[in-house]
């Protein structure tokens, strides 16, 4: 129930419960490994279809009956996809990157101080502040999309990157505050006090003493926000109306539902978009749950 739950949650207890007894027979281990391989295959199967499909020619991918593997491998799809008529993909990629990077930067700017202060100090309204954060965490742009759209129109920033940077930052702020809050709370107070005795102010303590200690929490917040912004769909769909401004998630839907679908490009773009975020998520695998659940899994 103590605060540094995210770190302890995934790593330590499993290690403690690992009972290296000789009772597990080799036969059962083999069964488990086979089951593990099957489960892993099921979870990556759609992405294998995606990867293999991205190398097929247009005729091959629309062939009836379909073939599992490409008749001929077409790696050049990864080059020609940038100039398809359906959507200006280079711009879509730039939009996705700009929105995700700036939303992540904004989240850091806003959440590091808030997480540190609420983890370290008691002040009137602290409970209300954290309550608002919890409620925000449970809300999503989808349910507020109509309101967000009208607000951005009223502000004159609909169909701009800025609007989506603000939306992504606001809706990922809760995760970032929780995960960093629990990391800050996990640093012994004596560390702060020692620095304060040396005459350091609160901001100095935060930047010089705390940040180097809690960097795993910060990296987790950065990656989570980046990935969530990268994949955001509903708000972008209504707020960004110009083709070139739309992120990849929205741009891709242009290929689907039409009779003449360029699936090989859909998949090539998806592979390019999916690989980086999968790698990033794997890096923070052990800490993902902590930020999503405010450390309350027990």
């Amino acid at each position: 129930m103590t605060a540094p739950a995210p770190v302890a949650l995934a790593g330590a207890p499993t290690a403690r419960r690992r009972r290296p007894r000789g009772s597990a027979s080799p036969g059962r281990t083999v069964v488990k490994v086979i089951a593990g391989v099957v489960i892993a295959l099921v979870f990556v199967a759609p992405y294998l279809i995606m990867l293999v499909g991205s190398f097929k020619s247009r005729n091959n991918i629309l062939a009836v009956p379909p073939t599992y593997l490409p008749e001929q491998w077409h790696p050049e799809n990864y080059l020609t996809m940038w100039s398809t008529p359906e959507t200006p993909l280079p711009y879509n990629l730039i939009s996705t990157i700009v929105i995700s990077v700036f939303a992540t930067a904004l989240v850091l700017l806003v959440c590091v101080p808030a997480a540190y202060y609420t983890a370290r100090f008691r002040f009137p309204g602290r409970g209300i502040f954290l309550f608002l954060v919890v409620v925000t965490q449970m809300l999503q742009p989808t349910v507020l999309a109509t309101g967000l759209f009208k607000e951005m129109v009223a502000l004159g920033i609909n169909d701009t990157w800025l609007a989506m940077i603000l939306v992504n930052a606001a809706f990922n702020l809760a995760f970032a505050i929780w995960i960093m809050h629990s990391f800050f709370a996990g640093v012994p107070k004596e560390v702060d006090e020692a620095a304060q005795l040396d005459g350091a102010g609160k901001w100095t303590v935060l930047f010089r003493v705390q940040l180097p200690l809690v960097w795993p929490g910060i990296v987790t917040a950065i990656i989570y926000t980046f990935v969530a912004s990268w994949n955001e769909f509903a708000a972008s769909l209504v707020i960004l109306s110009t083709d070139a401004n739309q992120p990849l998630s929205v741009a891709l839907t242009k290929f689907v539902g039409q009779y003449d679908a360029a699936w090989q490009y859909v998949f090539a773009v998806s592979v390019v978009a999916v690989i980086p975020v999968v790698v990033l998520f794997m890096l923070i695998e052990k800490r993902l749950v902590g930020g999503l659940t405010a450390g309350s899994v027990k």
């Binding site: 949650l9 995934a10 597990a24 490994v33 489960i39 892993a40 990556v44 759609p46 992405y47 009836v64 009956p65 379909p66 850091l108 700017l109 101080p113 808030a114 540190y116 100090f121 002040f123 009137p124 954290l130 919890v134 925000t136 449970m138 809300l139 999503q140 349910v143 507020l144 109509t146 759209f149 009208k150 607000e151 603000l166 930052a169 606001a170 809706f171 930047f207 010089r208 940040l211 960097w215 990296v219 950065i222 990935v227 769909f233 209504v238 990849l248 998630s249 539902g257 859909v266 998806s270 999916v274 999968v278 990033l280 794997m282 695998e285 659940t293 405010a294 309350s296 899994v297 027990k298």
Partner: protein
């Protein structure tokens, strides 16, 4: 590794002027000291979360033309208009079926998956990594694979199902509302499993090992010890995963939009996809606001349940 922290440090430091220290140094109020630290987050929460919610409620009581011009207040007329639409009862039923089936199947499958992944076997880490992939990948992109794969003519999943003799011939999963809706439930379960499994794994890790040992010593069968020791200890993790999933699944747009969007009519719509149809196909901001407000209230009820059952605030107070 430290360079990440230092980069952040420098960036943040230059970006934030230390305003709060100057205004009233003698006041000494704790609240005032907290302002510079928490105000930016509050501005973002109020400006981009709470304000649009309020603005949406306001718009739901206005008559707004297709061009976006406000023609004044109409009271609750928009709500009455939306609720009396002939397709609405079906959409409400779909929403209920959608949320309940996706969440129940997800939680049950995740319980089994987590139980398996909690055991030791060579390569367990790789299986856990594989399960993360649908979590990280864009739901839009994951769904496009299924839209393609389930096509009756060129779909590769259809071909696979025929090749392993599960189907006699390719089936048009995406062509009719009911099969498309059921297939969408499957996709929604698929993308919800990673988070749910990881949450339950975290819960399993929190059960003291000696508790299960004790049950074993007492002669409890594996079945018995699962239901009387493991499951009760997972109560919080399951409650949490269920509530977060209810919200995610209720709010889910891309799966149904891609899988059933090209099917005419509203037979495969939930209230969430219906909002976007009202907004994008009919350009009715007033009606979609009214329905969004109803959705928002439903979400708030779930949030209330979350606060009441899971008590996330207990951790920090």
């Amino acid at each position: 590794m430290t360079s990440t922290a230092e980069a952040t440090q420098a960036g943040t430091a230059t970006g934030r002027p230390r305003r709060g220290a100057s205004p009233k140094p003698t006041g000494g109020s704790d609240l005032l000291h907290a302002v510079p630290w928490t105000l930016p987050a509050l501005i973002l929460i109020f400006g981009v979360v709470l304000f649009p919610a309020g603005y949406m409620i306001y718009n739901s009581t206005r008559k707004i033309s297709i061009a976006g011009v406000d023609h004044g207040s109409v009271g609750l007329q928009n709500y009455l208009t939306v609720l009396s639409r002939p397709e609405l009862p079906g959409i409400l039923l779909n929403t209920l079926v959608w949320v309940v089936s996706v969440v129940v199947i997800t939680v049950v499958v995740s319980l089994a998956l987590a139980q398996f992944l909690d055991k030791n076997f060579p390569g367990r880490r790789w299986v856990r990594m594989a399960i993360i992939v649908p979590w990280a990948a864009s739901v839009v992109m994951t769904t496009t694979v299924f839209v393609y794969g389930l096509d009756p003519f060129y779909g590769i999943i259809n071909k696979f199902l025929v090749d392993i003799h599960l189907l006699a011939e390719p089936f048009g999963f995406t062509k009719e509302p009911v099969p498309a809706f059921i297939s969408s439930i499957g996709i929604a379960v698929f993308v919800s499993l990673p988070f749910t499994t990881y949450t339950i794994l975290a819960g399993l890790a929190g059960i003291p090992g000696d508790m299960l040992e004790a049950a074993k010593v007492d002669g409890a069968s594996a079945f018995r010890s699962y239901f009387s020791v493991t499951l009760p200890n997972l109560r919080n993790a399951i409650a949490l995963a269920t509530l977060i999933n209810i919200i995610n699944v209720f709010n889910s747009l891309p799966i149904l939009k891609l899988m059933t969007g090209s099917i005419p009519g509203y037979k495969a719509d939930t209230t969430t996809t219906y909002v976007f149809k009202l907004l994008q196909n009919e350009q009715r901001i007033d009606l979609s606001s009214a329905l969004s407000v109803i959705n928002f209230l439903i979400v708030l009820v779930v949030v209330g349940l979350y606060l009441w059952i899971v008590k996330p605030m207990k951790e920090v107070s």
